[in-house]
Amino acid sequence: MNVITDKLRVEDNKWIGQRTIRPDGADKVTGRASYAADNTMPGMIWGKVLRSPHAHARIRSIDTSKAEALPGVKAVVTAKDIVDFPLETSVMLGIQDMRWMCRNVMAREKALFHGHPVAAVAAINEEVAAAACALIAVDYEVLPHVIEIEDAIRDDAPILHDFAKFEGKPSNIAGTMTAKLGDVEAGFAEADIVVERTFRTRPIHQGYIEPQACTVSYSADGRATIWSSSQGQFMVRAMTSLLTGVPQSNIRAIPAEIGGGFGAKTIIYLEPVALLLSKKSGRPVKMVMTREEVMRATGPTSGSFSTVKIGAKKDGTFVAAKGDFYIQAGCLPGGPLRGPVGCSFAPYDIPNVLSVGYDVVSNRSKVAAYRAPGAPLGAYAAECVIDEIAEQLGMDPLELRLKNTARSGTKAAYGATFAKVTFEETIEAIRDHEHYKAPLDRNPRPGVKRGRGLASGFWYNAGGESSAQVNITEDGNVVVTTGHPDVGGSRASIANVTAELLGVDHGRVSVLIGDTASIGYSNLTGGSRVTFASAMVVTQSAEKVIGQLKERAAKIWKIDPEAVHWENGEARPAGPNAGQFPPLSLADLAAKASETGGPIGAGVQLNTAGAEPGFATHVVDVEVDVDLGIVRVLRYTAAQDVGRALHPSYVEGQIQGGVVQGIGWALSEEYLYDRQGRLENAGFLDYRMPVCSDVPMIEAVMLEIPNPKHPQGVRGVGEAPIVPPLAAIANAVHDALGTRFYSLPMSPPKVLERLDGG
């Protein structure tokens, strides 16, 4: 058995590391792939959500009688149909508190943002459903609202939640998180140089192309089937169960192809509502959000207001670091404090650290996870301050980072003591890269300035629960089922691993995603955990299958199973002593499966561990049009320890995608609100994500330093690449213009105003 695992460590892997054709590729490029909104059912009706027109309002009453009386309307639900989780008791599902989730899917005491669902209707078509929504009379007591962090934390700010207290007083700071190491004040006292700066970022939407959608059919026997796209069908089942009171065993959640999630589809909005509408109407109910609903009322990730202070010795040695991170939670508690608090200083060996995160609520859509939740916000602040320290000390920012890298045995403020740290390698990879060595023409044309910037980043990575089943079909091929929606090419990676382990042609392996009834519990696709965890359970399943195959061959040959080897997809006698038999292929053994003991297949369910953290270092060249204030990215190189690239194209894709999202964050994306607290740019025209022509080819430098705790050496790769770009680009803009921006995005009006001396 170990032969196989050992074999994976050698260079001549046949399938692992190959750019095989992705199993879901043909369907996606021909438009045949079935996404959440593609599902239809006989008798199906349409659900629509009525949303709050106010940013903050008490709901005095809701009268749905007129809507219910409209011909074609089959059901109406409001918060009173959703399971209530009283404010006193926290009920957690993963990192989500059901007290907040039940209020997020349907406003209860108050409407907390413009776009907050207050009721939902199911009707024979979308038009009737929309007309019925307009007939629902909601009696609102409009309250003063607050949008921005700095306004929300003022003493006289309108308070969203009476239950939230900070320092004994009602507050919009709903919670805090601290990471501490050593004694920062003592550390700063030792420093020769201290730089402290304050930074601001705006909320950013994950920007997935596929709007949230689902179809739910609730049958007369009390069983429900949910078709939806998410980052976890088991999360869909569990959360819907909690919010509707239908037991998990009575819910089957079937994952559709997912058109992007980036973290935001780790929670749900529609499924419980559609289930209740289906239950009331007795009909399958379909709900599809519009792009505007997606922008107004799902995600985004937090904006931030952070102060970071770092102290160093004259030689550049960091002695202390302090961070205060005010993070937007949206209208209900639960901002991603863990990102900035834990990750900002984690790449460095700093003896004294104090990192505090504040969870700030305001009248905006509740935030949802977005790649490396919160970490880019902290890294933006920390990595810009590091750049400024390098400038003040007259040191190369790359050498300054190299001097301070965390190493094996370094203790991070968030609690971990690192086993094997591969941060240094990412910096060296950039240092030795042609990009970093290439001279930069700083003034290529009149009115144009160029600069180069550098930044690094860290993400925890994660293991957790995963299940897999590997079955040999009767005709001797292989079907692998896992419980993870494939958002980043995980099926392609798993196909490579399975083909390698079993020694069969890649084309003979099918990888499928099971629904909640066909595979064991599997945690979310998120946190950079899926390839790590599913490769682990698939490896163990495949090893069991190989054990079975050897037993079957042994039975046929009437020799000891120990005397059988599995090689290149065939059972062979281990050596001359074992006997002389012609090899038995997978097909041979499958054909004889019934006679030799029955179906061949095995599954494994594990709580995986050993996901070592991810480190990344990026370098970027920018060009600034100084008359228009436009910043463009000319060249971008991202180095990251990826452990083992099971399928290099999708590892590169993760890195490139993270960088491009970071570019949008740094330069053009932002949520804009009007005075009434309404989002002004709820669409892709005015919410400016980069388009293809805005970004250069992102060069991904994949360092394959095997993670010793994983059978193939895999390390999570999906989050780390979005962590450095904000600071890398800000540092490059400073290099070009000689002036620093402490707020994002660095949009043309902001840049021009600064250049004009504003």
Binding site: L628, I630, N681, V691, S693, S747, P748, L752
Partner: protein, 290 residues
Amino acid sequence: MTDIRYLAPRTLDEAVAAFAAAQGAARILAGGTDLLVQMRAGVVRPGLIVDIKKIGEMTEIVEPPEGGFRIGAAVAGATLAEHPRFGKVWPGVLEAINLIGSKQVQGRASPGGNLCNGSPAGDSVPAMVAAGAVVTIQGPGGRRTLPVEAVPAGPHRTSLAPGEILVSFTLPPRPAGSSDAYLRMIPRTEMDIAVVGLGASLTLQGGVVTAARIGLGAVAPTVLLVEEAGKALIGSRLDDAALEAAAAACRAACRPIDDKRGTIAYRTRVAGVLLKRTVAIAAARAQGGN
């Protein structure tokens, strides 16, 4: 649920008759790249759609004997790009029309739609204004012509009377030493809406500007003809003082709003920057460069 009727007449007379008879409940459909988006968003709900793409005059590009070009209002951007001579004579108008949207949008989007949609940020409009285009309009009362800058009446409003259809754009013959250019400022490189757009058309003789027209978009409720900017350039050799005077005229003409797409200060400043850049391109083209 309202039913929508669709008509695709073969003649302009039929189109005008149907359009006028519907009394405001009808909409003209050219490429539909604005209309269909607006219908989907629920902004307009027409009872009748009159598709004008089957009408010969509206989809042809003609070079009349007296010189110049006559472009049907519904000619798609891609069709204009394929014309063997148009882009050589009016590179600025062509680049403005071709900036609209993407390849897919170009297959449909028309200059007539761009103008009649009435957006102050429509890309082809400042270039047409600079070019001195004259539009032909037909309505229940017959035909009339208007300078293109007289068509926009405010955001999403035009001076077309009820029942009137924009038929074509007539661009004048070009003396030697003439060319034009269009530039817009957008935060992205594509798929965006002009924060400022500027068209410049010049004629130079012996290095001296003898004719100049400047069209400025997205800085006021309608696209503007900035006559002062043209005057500042005429008679000059495009020296810094003349360019700065023209840029100042553009800045002075701006009556922008602060909105999600740009601030007043930004738009005003950029109008001057684009004047200089666009004029430089038009001058280089007029003098035989590209």
